[in-house]
Symmetry: C2
DNA sequence: TTAATAATAGTAACTATTACTGATTTTGAA
DNA sequence: TTCAAAATCAGTAATAGTTACTATTATTAA
């Protein structure tokens, strides 16, 4: 484990101690409780760095701001378009949500599976 | 079919005539070829309206701007983190990309399945 | 100890998107 | 048709999330 700054440790810690999927500003507010003068820029920079090295996951759910997830084990997400809350769900085949309504009480209206990587053309070099 | 403005028709038409997944500004540039003085605000407003009524699909792939898709049939997307291009792929179970590399030449590094709807608590009213 | 390196706080800048405003177009009933 | 009400537009201003910059502070390693 590398030597992290106090700020980065606090940010990583904040994500590992919640089951929510906070935005950058929500992380900022949490970390401010222990490091009151931390800068929002520092939060963004460290979130990006942690995501880059695979310690956390960055998540676009469709609303204005990205979410961050300290749980990097494979799972999917449910986004409530009313309250904005993001919940974990186990992997499901896209387009088929067998028992989501029964298991979680979710009413699923849409789904979006995005794979990310490098395409054929860009893979040449 | 409702009565659309010339601008909205041109926007919908632009999306139906491409297999790419343009951003709002890309749609703006395309539509400007036929309606040179169309406003970017008009493009945003009509894209939102078309998405609202289910004529098109809005798509967050993780980079700065949203994409729009005139193809509303069920399918998933591949986002190339190098060139930014978005490609269609058939539905696959999240976390399992059987022959994507073989079929498309994609090197898949990450995946994100987001379901959208209304959660248990919000469904009460 | 001290010079080099890295990270920070605070702030300014940027960009995608939304809101606003007054003008123009469309609608629909008289 | 005609005219008032409603909708949509172009153009611009404002907002919000995020990134870049700068001078300062902390860390590293010789």
């Amino acid at each position: 484990m590398k030597n992290y700054s106090r700020q980065r440790e606090a940010i990583a810690h904040a994500l590992q101690n919640t089951t929510e999927h906070p935005t950058a500003s929500a992380v900022y507010e949490t970390v401010r409780e222990t490091i009151p003068n931390i800068s929002l820029g520092t939060v963004y920079r460290n979130l990006a760095a942690l995501a880059e090295e695979g310690m956390i996951k960055q998540l676009s759910v469709g609303d204005s701001s990205d979410r961050f997830d300290g749980d990097i084990s494979p799972h999917s997400h449910f986004y409530c378009e009313k309250c904005g809350k993001v919940s974990d769900v186990s992997y499901v085949a896209d387009g088929v949500y067998p028992d989501l309504e029964k298991d979680y009480g979710f009413k699923v209206k849409a789904s979006s599976l995005v794979l990310c990587g490098v395409c054929k053309d860009c893979n040449k070099d």
